[in-house]
């Protein structure tokens, strides 16, 4: 066995690596070259991240609907009935289901990020597991909530 790596052999040691994967940063430190987006192998955390930002954007729009409810309540029974009437249409219910799903996923993904920020679950396997848990928990919360709303007769289509 040769003690030095073969040309083209990927080594994680910047002093012996011959693949050019390490670059000297402006601050003088040698760091791995960040691969371009197209050469990342798929990992579920990618969808976890994309969907979390998407949910955040959806919630920003959704906050306007919540604010609309607050304003309608402040403007009296007629305004409230009109707003509730529009929002209990099939399209309105779809919007509120979307808000519920976005809120549920932003919540579970946020908890996942707090776990990661505390330094736990950062191996690829654990990170993937927590991402799947956040997907499933969000679905259970949102779908369960709406099944309960219809089953209890609080909302009728």
């Amino acid at each position: 066995m040769s003690s030095s790596p073969l040309p083209g052999d990927a080594s994680n040691d910047p002093t012996t690596d011959q693949t050019g994967r390490f670059v000297r940063q402006p601050n003088g430190r040698v760091r791995p070259l960040s691969p371009h987006l197209q050469v990342w192998r798929f990992h579920v955390t990618m969808w976890g991240s994309i969907l979390n930002r998407f949910a955040a954007g959806a919630l920003s729009v959704g906050s306007l609907f919540v604010f609309g409810w607050l304003a309608a309540a402040g403007m009296g029974p007629d305004a409230y009935a009109a707003y509730a009437g529009v929002m209990s249409s099939p399209l309105g219910l779809l919007i509120w289901f979307g808000i519920t799903l976005a809120a549920a996923y932003h919540l579970t993904a946020g908890i996942r990020h707090l776990i990661w920020d505390a330094g736990h679950g950062l191996t690829p396997k654990a990170a993937g597991m927590w991402t799947w848990v956040s997907f499933l928990a969000a679905l259970v919360i949102a779908v369960g909530f709406w099944i309960a709303l219809f089953a209890s007769g609080r909302i009728v289509l």
Binding site: A73, G74, G76, A81, F145
Partner: protein
């Protein structure tokens, strides 16, 4: 511009405001976890109750105070999140600044108007706009 770098446990301390933003994002997330669950419970209580149910709900000081806290912290959290998104995707400085000022102003209006509505509903004030000048 550059001060001497500070280190805590061999980790370089942010020279400007990055660490403060990071902490504020996490702190608001942490507070919003229980508030979001309370919000889900509140949505359940309010659903199908109509205007009378909503008025009853707002008369409870616990509900009014928690809703005002949730509203303000959510908007703060939303403002920080939208700033990150704008910083990521909008590269032209004038567009970025303009958009951030617009988002900030919108967030301020939503927060103040929202708290205004909540306070009126909690105090049982007359519906707007009738009571606006009173």
């Amino acid at each position: 511009m550059s001060k001497s770098a500070r280190y805590i446990r061999n980790v370089k301390v942010s020279e400007r405001h990055g660490a403060g933003e990071w902490t504020a994002e996490r702190a608001s997330s942490l507070v919003l976890v229980p508030l979001a669950l309370w919000g889900l419970w509140s949505a359940w209580s309010l659903s199908g109750g109509g205007y009378a149910g909503a008025l009853d709900w707002f008369r409870s000081p616990v509900n009014a105070v928690l809703l005002a806290i949730t509203l303000v912290i959510s908007i703060w959290h939303m403002n920080m999140g939208l700033k990150v998104i704008v910083d990521d995707y909008i590269h032209k400085p004038s567009s970025r600044t303009g958009l951030l000022v617009f988002i900030g102003a919108l967030c301020l209006v939503l927060a103040f108007a929202g708290v205004f509505f909540i306070v009126r509903l909690a105090l049982g004030s007359a519906p707007l706009p009738a009571g606006l000048g009173a």
